[in-house]
């Protein structure tokens, strides 16, 4: 009998019919029967070999790392970074998809356009009776005043292009297109000595401010999440030395080890390898990392929503950034007790 059939028979990987035939063939051959019997004896001896238990500290370290590196929160950020411009734009604007934000943005947009129309109508009337003035924006810039505060530039009277642009603005559709039309219309006015860009920039700035504000509001949701270890200098966002088992964690065994004293392989460096804590670069666009108190509040919300997995994840995060706070306040919070209680770990399994 070849090895293929013999091993399949020995380990029960033949169907009933084939197994019956092979056993009959073995029974007719003393050599094969002896061989099979010998293999069975070997197997029975090795069944006596007991399994050994790995040290509990390894599990505690792995659970801490798993909590720190949970894939889902990073996925949206990574995807937005890896995709193209439109994907990033969509991710920035995702909060705007909320009806409330969309309504607010619409109101601001309409108000801004209406303001532009009103002002330009007034300019049109004034332009009819006087010569173009010096570009007010230049003087404003020279004195250091903000563009928003620059006086309104003159506009040509009864310019058909301007009138068409105004009509488009009143339609309030395709704001970028309207902007370009207004800009091109105003370019004709510029040729007469006036500089109309500041007013358009004013309206543009208003719209840009809306999106910039939305971007800033959207940023904390991404930046406060767990750091993207894949973008760090090392594979796990930690140096391999930091993740190797060490004796500093202590040999606390048994069930409570994972939750009470998970040895943090890297108390400080994770922040160094992640982009989140970077106040020196762009403080206006990036939110600071959440404090233990803030995280505690989130955990309470999660506990009320019965999202115990989130509670434990947040707990691990608090424990990593402020172990004293964790011990003093978080672990003893009765509102979180139901989620933090750990059953006897490592149930007997074979």
């Amino acid at each position: 009998m070849d090895a293929d059939r013999l091993m399949a028979l020995l380990y029960g990987e033949l169907d009933a019919g084939d197994a019956e035939r092979e056993r009959a063939a073995v029974a007719e051959s003393p050599e094969q029967a002896a061989e099979l019997e010998g293999f069975e004896r070997v197997r029975s001896l090795f069944r006596e070999l007991p399994d050994e238990e790995p040290p509990p500290r390894i599990s505690a370290q792995l659970l801490a790392e798993a909590a720190r590196s949970a894939p889902a929160p990073r996925k949206a950020v990574a995807a937005s970074r890896e995709d193209g411009f439109w994907a990033r734009l969509v991710s920035w604007l995702s909060p705007v998809q909320h009806p409330g934000f969309a309504a607010a943005a619409s109101v601001v947009l309409v108000a801004g356009l209406a303001g532009v129309l009103y002002l330009r109508k007034g300019d049109t009337l004034q332009e009819a009776g006087r010569a173009p003035e010096a570009p007010p924006a230049e003087s404003a810039a020279a004195t250091g005043t903000a563009t928003d505060e620059a006086p309104l530039p003159p506009a040509p009277a009864a310019d058909p292009a301007v009138v068409a642009g105004q009509a488009d603005l009143e339609g309030a559709a395709g704001e970028a297109q309207d902007r370009s039309r207004v800009t091109s219309a105003d370019a004709k006015a510029v040729s007469k000595g006036g500089k109309t860009m500041p007013s358009k920039e004013k309206s543009l700035d208003l719209d840009d401010d809306v999106f910039a504000k939305k971007k800033r509001e959207a940023k904390p949701a991404a930046s406060s999440k767990k750091p993207d270890t894949l973008r760090g200098g090392t594979v796990y966002g930690l140096s391999e030395q930091e993740m190797m088992p060490g004796d500093a964690a202590g040999g606390s065994g048994g069930a409570p080890a994972a939750n009470q004293a998970p040895p943090e392989p890297a108390p400080a460096p994770p922040q160094a390898s992640t982009p989140t804590p970077a106040p020196s670069t762009k403080p206006s666009t990036k939110a600071r990392p959440p404090t233990a108190t803030e995280l505690h509040a989130r955990a309470v919300d999660a506990a009320l929503d019965k999202r115990c997995s989130d509670v434990r994840t947040i707990g691990a995060e608090i424990r990593s950034i402020d172990p004293e706070y964790y011990k003093a306040k978080f672990a003893g919070d009765k509102r979180l007790k139901a989620c933090l209680e750990v059953p006897s770990q490592y149930p007997a399994r074979k």
Partner: protein
């Protein structure tokens, strides 16, 4: 154990490995904990019996699951979790063996690690509540089994460990190792033949076993 916590544990406990892995992909750390609890012991013993050193096995065990954590985002539900897990563990063992050039079973008198307080392989083996003579006999047998395993080639040893201790089908072993299934069975047969010769003196003991 609170109802909520226990309910969550019980809800996940019976779920398949692949389901738990997908849940961890979505941020459920509890699912990973169940996977770890479920597989850490068999993976550890596989590695231990492969490399023959407890200290090394502990390091490789941690490395194996760290790679699972790292690769969680890329894990696809269609892939069998155990196949993936043991592919990682096996590759780490092979790399370790190549580094250490370790092909023989450890001597009875050789310490497990460099620490003077560490014991020998005899001290590491677990012992239950039994008579001292039987205990000594069992320990002797266990040592002999470890030695016999150590004398197998790596190719034979890994196949034997996966089939015999992990109850992994030959097809899955072939996927892990990356060789055809009939090659796996051939290696298994050679391993069993070699072990049969090594352990011939225990055949009477084996006959008395179920």
């Amino acid at each position: 154990m609170s109802t909520a916590r226990g309910g969550s544990w019980m809800q996940h406990e019976g779920e398949a490995d692949e389901v738990l892995m997908v849940a961890y992909q979505k941020g459920d750390v509890r699912s990973f904990e169940i996977l770890l609890t479920r597989h850490r012991k068999p993976v550890f013993n596989f590695i231990l019996r492969f490399v023959g050193s407890r200290e090394t096995a502990e390091d490789l065990l941690q490395e194996t699951f760290l790679r699972v954590i790292k690769g969680a985002e890329a894990y696809q539900r269609q892939a069998k979790f155990t196949t993936w897990l043991y592919t990682i563990a096996r590759n780490l063992c092979v790399d370790q063996s190549r580094r250490a050039k370790h092909r023989k079973a450890q001597s009875l008198d050789a310490p497990m690690n460099s620490s003077a307080e560490s014991g020998t392989l005899l001290d590491v083996l677990p012992s239950g509540e039994m008579a001292s003579d039987r205990l000594a006999g069992n320990k002797q047998l266990h040592l002999k089994l470890h030695e016999a395993l150590g004398r197998l080639s790596e190719e034979q040893r890994e196949v034997f460990l996966m089939r015999e201790f992990l109850d992994m089908p030959f097809k899955d072993i072939a996927d892990v190792i990356g060789v055809p299934e009939n090659t796996v069975k051939s290696r298994m047969r050679y391993a069993l033949e070699k072990l049969r010769l090594e352990l011939d003196e225990y055949k009477d003991m084996a006959k008395a076993m179920p």
